[in-house]
């Protein structure tokens, strides 16, 4: 075990290379650029021996990964924001084809106007593609999640692609220490890929041909079933990781000071890490509040949220907005609770366009909700216009 002090992107590059993917195909985009540069550097130094394909667009990056994965290779890519959106059609394709592709997406604002800071509307808009989505809140978590994700997606009961999301600059370009296990330890945790299916000259099959209505629905159901199964497997893999490396990042939700809590704050990614400071302060003031940091948006942990909401009111901070409706976490949490648990849920939209969400603002939001001063959902920071 060594300690590496580096940015989220370089630590992600290290994790990607240590997972030994046979193919990496990527196109650079701010703020993901240093991640793929990092991998290119490992190619130059001879530490990464797989194929590194420089493509001409993100659409091609995803199609190259689809081709490589269909041929039975372990495959990795990374993108951000508009790059992710350019992949959109192929994201559906990768998921329906049941390919275990691992991708990092660095959450960045969608333009116009041009803005490279952190918000989650890029990955949120790809929510329904069938990809699993995990949101990280530290560089260590990025490293651990990438390695664990390969084992998750390559499991015979899952075989779906996964998107590992983390905040632009707040994590991607900020140095933090991370414990890096040895290559032997990683190899022991993550054996070589045994593909669930592949294009093979010795055993010819066709893939992606016309499919009738009687079969198509079954494919969709099988994908849904796989994600349901991931709800059990993600914690299992995390436990095995903890046994080996003595680190745990929580499961579908990371719970922080939730015991006896009357209020539960739900937030995601870097705001989730910042929320811990706010929780400590609010607890010091005598407010019984805990934090549930959502790690997996897909599969969505409805059961775990119902359990939490039984004895607590819920406060949600979304760094995303489904225009014309609500923040997506807020929306989905209410949907999960409906007809199961009757509790108050208050939502906040905060941090869009990369606006900073410091712990003192999180405290203000929590107090506002607790004092009953917040309407159903509040756009934090400009209540005066509502």
């Amino acid at each position: 075990m060594t300690v590496m002090i580096d940015t989220g992107n370089y630590i992600a590059a290290k994790a990607a290379v240590m997972a030994r993917p046979e193919v990496v195909a990527a196109y650079p985009i701010t703020p993901q650029t240093t991640l793929v540069e990092g991998i290119a550097n490992y190619v130059a130094k001879g530490e990464y021996k797989g194929s590194y394909i420089c493509v001409e667009s993100e659409h091609s990056a995803m199609t190259a990964c689809i081709g490589a994965s269909e041929a039975g290779s372990r495959t990795f890519t990374a993108t951000s924001s508009h790059g992710l959106l350019l992949m959109h059609e192929m994201l559906h394709w990768a998921a329906l084809a049941r390919l275990p592709i691992v991708m990092c997406n660095i959450n960045r604002v969608i333009g116009p106007g041009w803005n490279i800071w952190s918000d989650q509307n890029d990955s949120i808009s790809q929510r329904d593609t069938g990809w699993m989505q995990i949101y990280c809140s530290s560089n260590q978590e990025i490293f651990d999640t990438i390695i664990q994700s390969f084992r998750l997606v390559e499991d015979k009961k899952i075989v779906l692609p996964i998107m590992i999301n983390y905040d632009a600059f707040i994590l991607s370009h900020t140095s933090m220490p991370a414990d890096i296990p040895s290559q032997e330890e990683i190899d022991d945790f993550l054996p070589p890929l045994k593909p669930a299916w592949k294009l093979d000259c010795e055993n010819p099959i066709a893939h992606g041909t016309i499919i009738g209505t009687e079969y198509y629905e079954k494919l969709r159901f099988a994908m849904h079933d796989a994600q349901e199964h991931a709800k059990e497997l993600i914690p299992k893999i995390a436990k095995d990781w903890e046994k080996r490396f003595n680190r745990h990042h929580g499961d579908l939700l990371e719970l922080y000071r939730c015991e006896d809590a009357e209020y539960i704050l739900v937030s995601m990614a870097a705001i989730g890490a910042e929320s811990k400071v706010a929780i400590n302060h609010l607890r010091d003031e005598g407010i019984n509040i805990g934090l549930a940091r959502l790690r997996t948006l897909r599969p969505f942990p409805s059961e775990a949220i119902r359990k939490l909401a039984k004895n607590a009111e819920i406060i949600v901070i979304d760094r995303n907005i489904s225009i014309g409706s609500e923040g997506v976490m807020f929306n989905e949490i209410k949907a999960a609770l409906y007809q199961y648990v009757d509790t108050k849920v208050t939502g906040f939209i905060a941090g869009l366009g990369g606006k900073d969400v410091p712990y003192w603002d999180i405290e203000k939001m929590c107090k506002k909700a607790i004092e009953g001063k917040a309407k159903h959902q509040v756009w934090f920071g400009f209540e005066e216009v509502q």
């Binding site: 299916w197 099959i205 066709a206 016309i210 499919i211 494919l219």
Partner: protein
Amino acid sequence: MKKYNIKSSISYPKEGAMGSTGSWRVFRPNLNLEKCVKCLRCWIFCPEGSIKRNKDDTVEINYDYCKGCGVCSNVCKVKAITMEREAKKK
């Protein structure tokens, strides 16, 4: 043949995996064996593998799967394959 235990749109090769596509046909290729010189161009170019090559290099058209695209007729150098409308106007 190895079968995979996953629900994806995998199709295993067999004759007529796509069903009886011959029902799509509007024009029917008619082969005149007297003109045929066994060059096998039709057999090579048929996009659906609907032309069968016999041991003596004569060919047969499988009308269960021939969609009537006319490629064989087009590539035939001796005009041994002619296209004819399946249903005649009354």
